[in-house]
């Protein structure tokens, strides 16, 4: 069984969202599809489309959340790999059955889908997110 069907997005931690958006649009020509400030997650983000996936540039807007700690400890760079799954519950059950730890299921930022993180121990250091979008 295939638990992930495509790359949904890659999240990149940046210090200054405005200048990072300028850099990525100017360097690569990817269109910005959405910008949002998400106080609940303590980040502001911009989504840039590339093919059937997106790059998410985000700037922490709080000082004590995991994205802010990542930026302080490691500097700017890739933070999360998000893979789309057909059925999140099935995928999480399959992971748990193999003894792999998974996090709480939470709604996506747009409120239409659901996501959960997989323990970086299982993924070889990757903060891996599985995301299920609402069926149209």
């Amino acid at each position: 069984m295939r638990l992930a069907k495509k790359i949904d997005h890659i999240a990149i931690a940046v210090k200054d969202l405005g200048s990072a958006v300028q850099t990525f649009t100017s360097n690569f020509g990817f269109p910005v599809t959405r910008r949002s400030d998400i106080p609940a997650l303590g980040i502001a983000l911009a989504l840039l489309r590339i093919g059937d996936a997106e790059l998410e540039l985000f700037q922490p807007t709080a000082t004590d959340n995991p994205p802010a700690r990542f930026l302080a400890d490691r500097g700017e760079g890739m933070y999360v790999l998000s893979l789309e799954t057909e059925n999140l519950d099935t995928a999480l059950q399959a992971l748990s059955a193999k003894g792999i730890r998974v996090g709480q299921v939470t709604p996506t930022a747009d409120g239409k889908g659901r996501l959960a993180y997989v323990s970086p121990k299982a993924t070889h250091g990757v903060l891996l997110q599985l995301i299920e979008h609402a069926k149209p």
Binding site: G29, L83, H124
Partner: protein, 136 residues
Amino acid sequence: MLRKIHHVGIVVRNLDEAYKFYRDTLGLHVHKEAVVEDQGVKAALLTIGNSEIELLEPINENGGVAKFLERRGEGLHHICFETNDVAAELAATKAKGIAVIDQAPRKGLAGMICFLHPKANNGVLIEYAQPVEDND
């Protein structure tokens, strides 16, 4: 034109161990595996949707991947964008004054490839790849 994410590169300590998660648990198909001597890695491409996940295991102590592993541990390493003309894309990138690692395209696992400098892209190591036919 950069048309899609060709792959996301992940540095791992041991390819066979990483297969247990990415191939056996996530269920991704290993499309290609090879030693790339000039990058000092044993690498594999696993298909996910229209893109791939590239797993990179260092095979000597001198390459950039070995240094990354020593300094940062396993995890996300680079993003590769697909182009149908890597030479033209690299030339356009250099003409914009964007710092690059490779002055000319070279052969890699994904085809003809080149790397840009992470300092030009908010700490993200970016690769361009022009795929070649899988007849080698």
